[in-house]
């Protein structure tokens, strides 16, 4: 009984990983991008940041209730992935999905209104923070059960293949979600049936208070595709260009091959798991600080300044515009009425919609 070498593993396409070092600037030259695009990335990240800060404020003012999970810290991952997706492509999210919704250009007032539980919310006040949706923008929803959206997302890629069209599905979830059964079943099927799914694992290091190492036997999450013959990549999720560049390439690769790919974006959430969690008793202040030093928004601002893509004045103007835009979302949400209680039973069944 001889032990074979690593032959199989070497031949295995899953052993692809992007090198990653913090802090990085290795995401290609700014020259490869139009200025407009770079500024758009920056503006989008800043918008996610300011939107979420405002959400936090509104939560504390009891305008928003229930579970509420913010994307602060994860902006490069959110923007870098979503911007790589075509309009006709589909997106599935977890419950931490505000950023994705606004980057996907859901009318931002309808997002805030949903958080407020108002009639003009994108889910008509029924869904709240975790269940943002906009089928017209192929934003197929945020979901509250860890891993639960992954099988659904393979259903949409299945439908694409069934109909012979050319879209892909971006299916996003957290590091913690890779330990649940639904993940396993869905990835196996996606690979077996060659479904056009780009699986994006947002590895923000923790599932609530549990670090990746305390939850997952394999901590290099991109390797989890191995078990399904799905190629795996890892990218610095604090660098919007790195994320965008990789995702863009893979989005088109999935489209071309109709085969799933798995990407791990390494990032961090600064705040607690949800508004109910201070986020402190399971990690050190030093650790948070360390990650803040790689802040995706701030580091990109400095880079754009350095690269003379914009001036500080431009940055200030963007800041102002972003804040104003957030304000319009809040105003819209404030103005929208609560749903009519008489319509409580609407939407339970499709025929009541």
């Amino acid at each position: 009984m001889s032990r074979s070498s690593a032959r199989d593993a070497r031949d295995n396409p899953t052993d692809q990983v992007t090198d990653m070092e913090f802090p990085v600037r290795d995401s290609g030259d700014l020259d490869n991008y139009e200025n407009d695009q770079l500024i758009d990335f920056y503006t989008s990240m800043l918008y996610v940041r300011r939107f979420e800060e405002r959400v936090a404020e509104m939560y504390l003012r009891a305008k928003i209730g229930g579970y509420c999970h913010l994307n602060i810290g994860e902006e490069a991952t959110v923007v870098g992935t979503l911007k790589a997706l075509r309009k006709e492509d589909y997106f599935f999210g977890s419950y931490r999905v505000h950023g994705s919704a606004i980057v996907r250009e859901l009318p931002h007032g309808t997002v805030m209104a949903e958080l407020f539980g108002k009639r003009d919310g994108c889910a008509k006040g029924r869904g709240g923070s975790m269940h943002l949706v906009d089928p017209e923008r192929r934003f197929m929803g945020g979901y509250g059960i860890v891993g639960g959206s992954i099988p659904l997302s393979t259903g949409v890629s299945f439908a694409i293949k069934y109909r012979g069209t050319n879209e892909i599905v971006m299916s996003t979830f957290g590091d913690g979600a890779t330990n649940i059964g639904a993940f396993h079943e869905a990835l196996n099927i996606a690979s077996l049936w060659k479904l056009p799914n780009l699986f994006i694992c947002t590895n923000n290091q923790y599932g609530m208070g549990t670090s990746v190492a305390r939850a997952s036997a394999v901590t290099e999450l991109w390797k989890k595709g191995v078990a399904y013959d799905i190629p795996g990549y890892k990218v610095n999720g604090m660098d919007v260009l790195a994320v965008y560049q990789l995702t863009k390439k893979l989005v088109e690769e999935v489209r071309r091959t109709s085969e799933p790919i798995f990407v791990e974006c390494v990032t961090y959430r600064y705040r607690g798991h949800s508004m109910a969690d201070a986020g402190k008793n399971y990690r050190t202040a030093d650790e948070i600080d360390e990650w803040r030093e790689r802040d995706p928004v701030e580091s990109f601002r400095l880079r754009l300044l350095e690269g003379e893509i914009f001036t500080q004045k431009d940055a200030d103007d963007i800041e102002e515009a972003v804040l104003a835009k957030v304000q319009t979302a809040v105003d819209f949400a404030e103005r929208s009425p609560f749903p009519d209680v008489a319509e409580l039973e609407k939407f339970v069944y499709a025929e009541d919609a």
């Binding site: 197929m140 929803g141 059960i145 997302s153 639904a182 079943e185 196996n188 069944y349």
Partner: protein, 325 residues
């Protein structure tokens, strides 16, 4: 009108709907090459090809969820759970995803999926394989739940289910697949929310669904020899429940028995009874009798299993009890 089996009726419904609508497809374990664990989908792979008759890995959560996702784009999957027992591993996708797609997204998405699942005891399949679970599904707003007892309802309800825009739990019964009955030829659908009076009677209302309808009819036939006239009502649709037909009958007979196959407590029969009491309290001349299974995980040994499942004899006894006989 042809006399065909319950299995053939289901297959005919699948074939007709698949012929008519290219968005309908069948998916599940062993539905294709194996021709169906219980042969309901026999021949479908040959007829419709691999694209529309899809064998899955053993991954109920995965493929039920996949079905629900496909339905969210407007396809109409008919997902087969080999038996309803395996629904337990897919419960989250059924009850906490599919059932909620319409409501939690404010009606902006829908999920027109059918989940076919046979259940029931009586074949010595033991504790982990003998469930019905009707009440679990019936409890969940957003699901519709039907359970046909005869071939014509099997066909008609399956067609209605496939055309419905909601997730429908379509509960079959292993012991019914070989039973025969007349099925109208040509287009034949059965609406949801309509119970069916399977036998007209005047002394006692006897309510059942799925296999228990057959036992109820046997009991009614036996009782007619003693000049007791039993009205047998088949729920057919559990959610929505047709309270009107039930109440109307009880207002006429003043007595009621409900027979359900699985555990006597906390089942569908409890809701049916409570509803009838609410709506027809003053008409009842005796407490409603509930006949249900003995509350044990299903044992293997034949005599034990037979003692668990309600029999026509037990139903007869219950009917007589409502007549104080």
């Amino acid at each position: 009108m042809a006399e065909i089996t319950y299995r053939e009726a289901l297959r005919d419904a699948l074939i007709e709907e698949m012929d008519q609508d290219p968005d309908v497809f069948v998916m599940g374990e062993e539905v294709g090459v194996f021709q169906g664990a219980y042969k309901v989908t026999e021949g479908l792979l040959d007829r419709f090809g691999e694209k529309r008759v899809i064998d899955t890995p053993i991954a109920e959560e995965g493929f039920v969820g996949l079905g629900a996702g496909a339905a969210m784009t407007g396809l109409r999957p008919v997902v087969e759970l080999m038996t309803v027992n395996f629904g337990m591993v897919a419960m989250d996708q059924i009850a906490n995803h599919a059932a909620k797609i319409s409501y939690m997204f404010g009606g902006r998405l829908k999920c027109p999926m059918v989940i076919r699942a046979p259940g029931g005891g009586g074949q010595q399949l033991t504790a982990q394989h003998s469930h019905c679970l009707d009440v679990w599904f019936a409890y969940i707003p957003g699901l519709k739940v039907v359970a046909p007892s005869v071939p014509s309802d099997a066909k008609g309800l399956l067609k209605t289910s496939i055309r419905d825009d909601n997730p429908v739990m379509f509960l079959e019964h292993l012991a019914l697949y070989n039973t025969k009955g007349v099925v109208p030829e040509g287009e034949h659908t059965v609406p949801f929310g309509e119970a069916d009076i399977k036998r007209v009677g005047s002394d006692v209302t006897l309510i059942a669904h799925s296999r228990m309808v057959l036992y109820a009819l046997q009991a009614a036939a036996q009782l007619s020899e003693e000049d007791i006239s039993v009205e047998v009502i088949d729920l057919r649709s559990i959610r929505p429940l047709d309270a009107e037909t039930l109440v109307h009958s009880v207002q006429k007979t003043h007595r009621c028995v409900i027979a359900e196959e699985e555990h006597r407590s906390f089942g569908v029969n409890a809701e049916v009874a409570a509803t009838i009491y609410e709506e027809a309290f003053d008409y009842l001349d005796a407490p409603i009798e509930r006949v249900g299974g003995v509350e044990v995980p299903m044992p293997y040994s034949k005599p034990l299993e037979q003692a668990v499942i309600p029999s026509p004899e037990k139903i007869v006894t219950a009917v007589k009890k409502t007549l104080y006989l």
